[in-house]
């Protein structure tokens, strides 16, 4: 731990960088809100004079300290009218700004971190944000706007196949994304086996995805942070929306709380719900009479201002999927989360927010076959406390510091008999862990041209009792036999008991973060970033598709934390008064101790997962390019990614690097949104991706009357390239009317993209099931051309 102390000194040294001026100065601070409903606007630029400025934080709060004097303050935000105001700053001042939405103007920006000039000027890189209005305008498959599908249209973000709402960022695996919904961690973001994501876009305000240069505020996953914020609720008036689609219907209401006769309530609320009815279509075939299949979810948010300086927010999410086949199988799964937040303006310069979060993911699986009925339950529960302090030191320096403490309770599984069957009940050991982190982050403007954002996060993961830890022969659960090129499982020779709360294993991680921007001129900048990330919990799943049966395992005696280093360099440019902007980035990411699984691993219903898990290294590198058109009737973007991601794990693929499941050399996305007139909007997107890695058989043999395939190299072959065009049209209501129609056509030219190619013995001749000894290769595609229509109604 000696070097650990030195690292703290390093942080203190960083602190010393901040120069605090003793000049006569005053602070301008306040909130920026949407004038229509009083919701906070975050990331709003507050420009003072021409060269000094700040942006609002996650709660719409800004603060800037300047020498006393008279200033022109300009507040500007995408899709809103600018406000310009003369401010005589002779003492500390609090000014709240109410921005009004632009009406009747052609839609401005689609994507990018706000307006183009900000993309050039901000120190942030490898970051993209999308507003839910944009997501709602993109063409959809089956009429359901989807956050996770939309972000896959951005460079560096992809997915392994259409049936997975899991996404891969810069070669990371799907479990390396930290998905936050109002700060609560979402463990499984998929509905209906990955065809939909759990986020109802109606209830979402905006999303931000960090692919690199991740600030020290965030931690716990290697590859990305997807920060999703729910709408807060209208403080001024009651509103409702209804949407009716082919697959699901949804509704939302919002309104003020404690309004009385005032123009604005002391609070506001928003409740949104969604329910699918795929199962209603099972009548199409009598074979599916016995099938139940649906999901629903609920989003809730409420906020309340105690006084000018203190506010409370309560948000919640509850989602459930149910899939059942009578007398055969039933499964139910879902996330539930709740966040209580308190924000407090301690002084003009200090903003404190504290969040207490609860999050749970659980699933049950029922075997309903006669004679051996049972129910299997598993869940992961956590409690999270996050205090965070923003200190707006002066116009050049901002400091953010805080803690992030999570207590985990994993219940890997419990089996119970159903309907009086003779199944012996059993419960796997629970796992407990405490993950704590402290972080500090500085934003520092050095000169007009150069600015930095840097900091560090120190994390600790304690695996706690009560637990009996298995001790294996040779001190390890698995021994690799190089001669036979396979893992051999060692015997359990002992067990060590740890009492409740006793530390079983302790891990520390030091995670420096750094990004810099050099502004060449107002239209050109170069950025550089580095981050190190630690991940202490691992998804135990060796399939490429989203399954509800997700088991997460904490690091411990036999499982090390994963960590990654990423470095990225980018060039940002804007043209024609920000009508266009362009960015290009290169990155290299090295990942260590990523988890993989021995060949033929059985991961469900296995308590000794350490005998199935192996760890190794991975690397990812690539080039990303994006051009945005931000103004005019036609907006949209073009993105291209050239990337490689590989893994090297002892005992897999002859111990040589092999392509990761998400490896894709070329990826191209073209997105266009066209506003014809006040009534018609059109959207189109085209995606192209080179073939993903798969493992094809190298030989066949017979065993027990069946033809069996033999394999050599993992992921040694490639699927055919993937491409697809989707289009949509939106018919907006006439003046005074409230209904809106959205038409979508997915996969316009009916391309049969290969989700998979599989190899098998032909075992049906006519109607007869029979082993033929003959073999075939079959391509599986999910979607042909899919039309859909949705009707939306506001009240």
């Amino acid at each position: 731990m000696k070097c650990y102390k030195k690292r703290w000194l390093f942080i203190l040294f960083l602190c010393g960088f901040i120069s605090i001026y003793a000049q006569e100065s005053a602070t301008l601070s306040g909130y920026v809100k949407n004038g229509a409903n009083s919701e906070d606007l975050l990331g709003v630029t507050v420009l003072v004079g021409t060269d000094r400025g700040t942006v609002t934080n996650d709660y719409g709060f800004y603060s800037i300290t300047l020498p006393k004097g008279t200033y022109t303050v300009t507040v500007s935000y995408l899709g809103f009218e600018d406000i310009t105001k003369e401010v005589v700053l002779d003492k500390n001042q609090k000014i709240d700004f109410m921005l009004e939405e632009k009406i009747g103007v052609l839609d401005e920006v689609v994507v990018t971190s706000n307006r183009a000039s900000k993309a050039v000027k901000s120190t942030e890189m490898s970051v993209v944000s999308l507003k839910s209005e944009t997501i709602n305008k993109l063409p959809t498959i089956l009429g359901e706007p989807d956050i996770l599908k939309s972000i896959q249209l951005l460079p560096g973000v992809s997915s392994v196949n259409e049936g997975s709402s899991g996404f891969n960022v810069r070669g990371g695996s799907a479990d390396q994304n930290l998905i936050l919904l109002d700060e609560a961690t979402i463990y499984n973001a998929s509905h209906l086996f990955g065809f939909f994501s759990v986020f109802n876009t109606d209830a979402i305000k905006d999303i931000k995805l960090y692919k690199g240069g991740i600030p020290s505020v965030y931690g716990g996953r290697l590859s990305s942070v997807l920060d999703i914020r729910q709408r807060e609720g209208n403080r001024k008036e009651f509103n409702g929306e209804l949407g009716i689609g082919l697959i699901s219907s949804k509704g939302l209401i919002e309104g003020p709380l404690f309004k009385g006769d005032n123009e604005e309530g002391k609070g506001g609320y928003m409740i949104a719900g969604r329910r699918s009815y795929v199962d209603l279509f099972t009548f199409l075939s009598s074979e599916f009479d016995d099938t139940t299949l649906f999901f629903y979810d609920l989003n809730l948010k409420a906020n309340y201002s105690i006084n000018d300086n203190n506010r409370l927010f309560l948000s919640g999410y509850f989602g459930r999927d149910r899939f059942e086949i009578d007398d055969f199988l039933g499964t139910i799964w879902g996330n539930a989360s709740g966040t209580l937040r308190w924000t407090s303006i301690l002084s003009e310069k200090l903003f404190l927010q504290t969040s207490a979060i609860f999050s749970n993911y659980d699933y049950s699986l029922d075997n309903l076959r006669g004679g051996s009925e049972f129910r299997w339950n598993s869940n992961i529960l956590n409690y999270n406390l996050k205090p965070k302090l923003n200190w707006f030191i002066n116009s050049n320096n901002t400091l953010t510091t805080g803690l992030d403490i999570t207590y985990y309770n994993f219940e890997p599984g419990e089996i119970k008999s159903l309907n009086g069957s003779n199944v012996n009940p059993e419960k796997f050991q629970e796992n407990f862990a405490l993950e704590s982190a402290a972080y500090v982050d500085f934003k520092q403007t050095i000169s007009d041209k150069l600015s930095f954002q840097y900091g560090a996060r120190v994390s600790n993961f304690k695996r706690l009792g009560r637990e009996n830890v298995r001790i294996y022969e040779n001190g390890t659960p698995l021994t690799y036999n190089p001669i036979l090129d396979r893992y051999e499982t060692n015997q359990v020779i002992d067990e060590i008991s740890y009492g409740s709360g006793k530390t079983i294993q302790d891990f520390y991680g030091f995670e420096p973060r750094f990004s810099a921007r050099y502004l060449i001129n107002d239209y050109n900048s170069i950025k550089l970033s580095y981050n190190r990330m630690y991940q202490y919990i691992h998804l135990i799943s060796n399939t490429t598709s989203a399954t509800p049966l997700d088991v997460w395992a904490p690091s411990g005696t036999y499982l090390d934390p994963q960590y990654a280093d990423q470095i990225a360099l980018g060039y940002f440019r804007s043209f024609n008064d920000n009508a266009y902007d362009f960015n290009a980035e290169v990155y290299y990411k090295s990942m260590n101790d990523v988890t993989d699984f021995v060949d033929g691993a059985d991961l469900l219903f296995t308590e000794e997962i350490e005998t199935e898990t192996v760890q190794g290294d991975a690397r990812a590198y690539g080039f990303e390019l994006q051009v945005n058109k931000n103004k005019g009737a036609l907006t949209g973007w073009l993105s291209y990614t050239l990337a490689r991601t590989e893994r090297k794990i002892l005992g897999i693929n002859n111990n040589e690097y092999y392509p990761s499941n998400s490896d894709q050399l070329h990826e191209l996305n073209l997105v266009g949104l066209y506003k014809l007139n006040d009534r018609w909007d059109f959207g189109a997107n085209f995606v192209f991706g080179s073939g993903r890695p798969v493992t094809y058989p190298t030989g066949q043999y017979e065993q027990n009357g069946l033809v069996v395939a033999d394999y050599e190299n993992r992921n040694g072959d490639r699927l055919p390239a993937y491409h697809r065009l989707d289009i949509s049209a939106t018919l907006n209501p006439k003046k005074g009317k409230k209904g809106k129609w959205i038409f979508s056509l997915a996969n316009v030219y009916n391309r049969q993209n290969a989700a998979s190619i599989f190899f098998r013995e032909i075992s049906e001749v006519g109607d007869q099931e029979i082993a033929t000894g003959e073999t075939e290769a079959t391509k599986l595609s999910f979607f042909g051309i899919v039309p859909s229509v949705t009707y939306q109604f506001k009240f």
Partner: protein, 288 residues
């Protein structure tokens, strides 16, 4: 409880069938082949009900997966099986089949096969575990469901011994003919561990849900007591043959490791499993 994983995955399959479409691409695909590997298919069976006149297994070598011909028989190997005391010679008859009529498999004995072929020596062992008897073998008429046809299904009751780890494999014969077909259900129904029902009596378990009997058929069911290693092998075999490789929801496919080791040249692996099993068997005629 590996079976439930598969239960889930086959249900998932149903969901995907709702939305997906399949195309035969056999002629569009060229596979990378590999050097032929030796394959053993078979082993020793102790059967009290119908004692076998001789013990036999088959040796072949692999061919390309999409090749039209059958795997090549190996007829020039020198093969012995030892019980630790006596070594029995197995002689080639035809089509890669090797037989011996003297060896009598015994409970609790470990058997080792030794194969000398193309200058390499291969070895593999398995231990013969006693199998519990059927308490009852019977047929039940069932309606058509999502996964099964209408007809008579062969079922059994059997009591698992207390405190012993048991691994089972089920075989079914229709009018004397062994039946098996690649199916996702195989890994659920054909192999079983007593992990969650140790010491319990199981009632009305269907032997093979793919096989439907009609009145007048002769139905034979076998319950095999197998080793844990053979169970793992069969489970993996049924998973991979049931789903045909890299299907959604499937782990990355990999070579299934058997129990045969190439002693001379370990990297040049052999495939398949040499087993020693105890067989409980019963036969009934399907009546109304």
């Amino acid at each position: 409880m590996k079976t439930t994983t598969q239960l889930y995955i086959s249900a998932l399959l149903v969901f995907f069938i709702l939305t997906s479409c399949e195309t035969n691409v056999t002629d569009d695909i060229t596979l990378n082949g590999s050097a032929p590997r030796l394959v053993i298919d078979g082993g020793l069976e102790r059967n009290i009900t119908t004692p076998l006149p001789q013990q036999s297994f088959r040796l072949t070598s692999t061919i390309g997966f999409l090749d039209k011909e059958d795997p090549t028989p190996v007829d020039d190997a020198t093969v012995t099986v030892s019980n630790g005391v006596t070594t029995y010679d197995f002689v080639h008859t035809s089509n890669g089949v090797y037989v011996n009529d003297l060896i009598e498999p015994q409970i609790g004995v470990s058997y080792t096969v030794s194969i000398v072929w193309n200058g390499d020596t291969y070895e593999g062992s398995d231990t013969l575990n006693e199998v519990p008897l059927f308490d009852r073998l019977f047929v039940v008429f069932e309606e058509e469901t999502l996964f099964t046809d209408e007809g008579y299904f062969l079922k059994f009751d059997s009591s698992d011994p207390v405190g012993v780890e048991n691994f089972y494999y089920y075989r079914i014969f229709k009018n004397g003919e062994f039946f098996i077909v690649a199916d996702p259900g195989n890994s659920i129904t054909l192999v079983e561990t007593d992990e969650f029902f140790d010491g319990q009596q199981r009632l009305g378990v269907t032997i093979n849900e793919e096989v439907v009997f009609e009145i007048g058929d002769i139905a034979t069911g076998q319950q095999l007591g197998i080793s844990e290693e053979y169970y793992d092998f069969l489970y993996e075999l049924f998973i991979q043959t049931g789903q045909g490789g890299s299907f959604i929801g499937n782990p990355p496919p990999a070579s299934i490791r058997g129990n045969i080791i190439n002693v001379t040249n370990p990297q040049q692996r052999a495939l398949g499993f040499f087993y020693a099993v105890d067989v409980e068997e019963d036969t009934i005629e399907v009546e109304e």
